[in-house]
């Protein structure tokens, strides 16, 4: 990849994670002029968030399962035909019949880029799980803790508690423990029996994916050896502290059990990034059971708008191997649309990626089933916890308003829930669940907030220098 100053390309790719890299490599191989834009300085995406160049990192994410992704990253970084536009946030996507334009924001202001095809491979983010006390410094997404470790070499306040429903927290806790961080406890919301039932439902898949499950088993063993308790059926009731996190409260209201801690990682699943697709008017669907909006696509990963493509966790959270397969399929689809390869060629070359994607989807479905956050989120819905961090709106304030209207955009106007800087990324999923429940409607029939420019916060001074598109 090379740094580049051009503004017009055949293909613009948003996101340099496994999906974006895979697509760029397919496209570069057939001579397409493509650029990859990312808010991060370096490519890798969330799973391979790289430390600063100046850090000589040793043993950096060296677990076996990361090897194929690291290999792809190395090839990507060495492919000179791909332009790398790092440290730039894409804040707007304007589809057009003659091509599409993207507005980006970086240290030196805004810039417009254009291309015949745009691929959105923006990934996902830690589900914002509103436990009481979750706005305290030291309470963060489990993925945030992990990226602080792998990209910055930082262990957050010790000892660390993990709480949630998603098994990824086992791997994260073990990574932190192996790196020398002190973990106080890993607390699963759901009982071992419930998790076992999910595994039995997906028994064939569980057997076929022995190595992935083995990794969770190894993490459990490493944690045991380090004396870290892994507990099940232990819902988080509250995070305590005055100016920072000092404890995590579990157990029933009449028998609270507090685990003292210096920070807590919440791991209830991941939501697809959906700001750009929704702002540009692409069709999306509610992503069950974890929530959030997944962008719809055809078999070549093209969205409902011609020339705008999607791949990876923007299309639903299903893990890095699937993200990579989707990136390759999208890359081939775009190459065919550009006339750089024939449709027949694309079909033939995409076949193995379709096959491995299909197999991996079964494992993703099992994980989804195990990690289902519904119960944990229902508790929040019935509480008075702050669900909108930016505007500090509580679940009880939202419940009150839902008595008069269940339209989420109206509730937003009345309560200010979702009006803040995060554009609703933190709270919308919760509001939609509450609104669906109040109306007795299925989540898949719900409509979300109206997508708006800019998809990422941008300074008013920058906008004034360059008027809104």
């Amino acid at each position: 990849m090379t740094d580049n100053a051009e503004t017009s390309y055949d293909v613009l790719i948003v996101g340099g994670g496994p999906a974006g890299q895979a697509a760029a490599l397919e496209l570069a191989a057939v001579g397409a002029r493509c650029a990859v834009i990312d808010e991060q300085a370096r490519p890798g995406g969330q799973i391979l968030r790289q430390p600063p160049v100046s850090f000589a990192a040793q043993n950096w994410v060296d677990e076996n399962s990361y090897r194929p992704l690291r290999q792809q990253l190395r090839v990507f970084e060495n492919q000179a035909a791909i332009a790398w536009l790092g440290r730039r946030s894409v804040i707007g996507l304007q589809p057009g019949p003659q091509g599409h334009s993207l507005t980006t924001s970086g240290a030196d202001g805004l810039q417009e880029l254009s291309a015949a095809h745009v691929l959105i491979a923006a990934g996902c983010y830690d589900m914002p799980y509103p436990a009481p006390g979750w706005t305290l410094p030291g309470a963060m997404g489990a993925g945030a803790m992990q990226t602080l470790l792998k990209a910055q070499g930082i262990v957050t306040g010790e000892p660390i508690v993990f709480a949630g429903t998603h098994p990824l927290m086992l791997l994260i806790a073990a990574q932190i423990s192996r790196a020398g961080g002190k973990v106080a406890e890993v607390a699963f919301d759901r009982s071992l029996a419930t998790i076992g039932k999910s595994m039995i439902r997906h028994c064939a898949t569980a057997l076929r994916n022995g190595s992935l499950l083995g990794e969770a088993g190894k993490a459990m063993m490493d944690l045991r050896r380090a004396g870290v308790p892994v507990r099940f059926g232990r819902p988080l009731q509250e995070i305590t502290g005055a100016d920072r996190v000092t404890g995590a409260v579990f157990g029933e209201a009449d028998h609270p059990e507090t685990t003292p801690c210096g920070s807590i990682g919440l791991c209830y699943g991941f939501l697809p990034q959906s700001d750009l697709p929704r702002q540009a008017g692409l069709s999306v669907r509610w992503s069950s059971p974890s929530g959030g909006w997944a962008t719809c696509h055809d078999q070549w990963m093209q969205s409902s708008v011609e020339g705008v493509w999607v791949a990876g966790e923007t299309t639903g959270v299903a893990g890095a191997p699937i993200a990579r397969d989707e990136g390759r399929i999208a890359g081939l689809g775009i190459a065919a649309a550009l006339g750089l390869i024939t449709n027949r060629d694309a079909t033939r070359r995409a076949a193995p990626f379709r096959q491995s994607r299909k197999a991996a989807m079964r494992f993703a479905a099992m994980l989804d089933d195990i990690a289902a956050p519904k119960q944990a989120l229902d508790r929040v819905a019935a509480s008075n916890t702050t669900i909108c961090r930016c505007e500090k709106v509580s679940a009880s304030a939202v419940r009150e308003t839902l008595g008069s209207t269940t339209d989420v955009n109206a509730v937003k106007r009345i309560t200010r829930c979702g009006m803040g800087l995060c554009q609703g990324r933190n709270c919308e999923h919760m509001l939609i669940r509450m609104s669906a429940a109040a109306e007795g409607r299925g989540l898949e029939t719900m409509k979300g907030f109206t997508g708006r420019f800019p998809a990422r916060p941008v300074s008013i001074a920058d906008l004034l220098e360059k008027p809104l598109p």
């Binding site: 968030r49 850090f55 830690d126 993925g143 945030a144 930082i154 957050t156 100016d243 995060c422 001074a461």
Partner: protein
């Protein structure tokens, strides 16, 4: 307490100014990481005076806004996407109410 761990071999330290206090940092290290080390992850106080901290460390939640003071102007930026450079001056909202 948060801490740095040894899996990275950082280069010679640089210095940045965090709320007027000079702290040691490494070139390219994120300002969010420095907030974790020096402020327990705190980025500001909200309008009720409550301490608030970074949540996502990936540019999505907008909880980590700090002010970057340069060229006589103050820019609000996400600390988790801001890389430390020598002499950088940062103002958090952790001492004042800054919403």
């Amino acid at each position: 307490m948060s801490k740095r761990i040894g899996f990275v071999e950082p280069p010679a330290p640089i210095h940045i100014e965090l709320d007027g206090e000079v702290v040691e940092a490494y070139e390219g290290e994120s300002v969010a990481a420095l907030l974790v080390l020096h402020r327990d992850g705190m980025s500001r106080r909200d309008r009720d005076g409550d301490a608030r901290g970074l949540w996502c460390n990936m540019g999505t939640c907008s909880e980590c806004f700090v002010r970057l003071l340069e060229h006589g102007r103050s820019r609000r930026v996400r600390a988790c996407l801001l890389e430390a450079t020598d002499g950088m001056r940062i103002a958090t909202g952790s001492h004042t109410q800054d919403d």
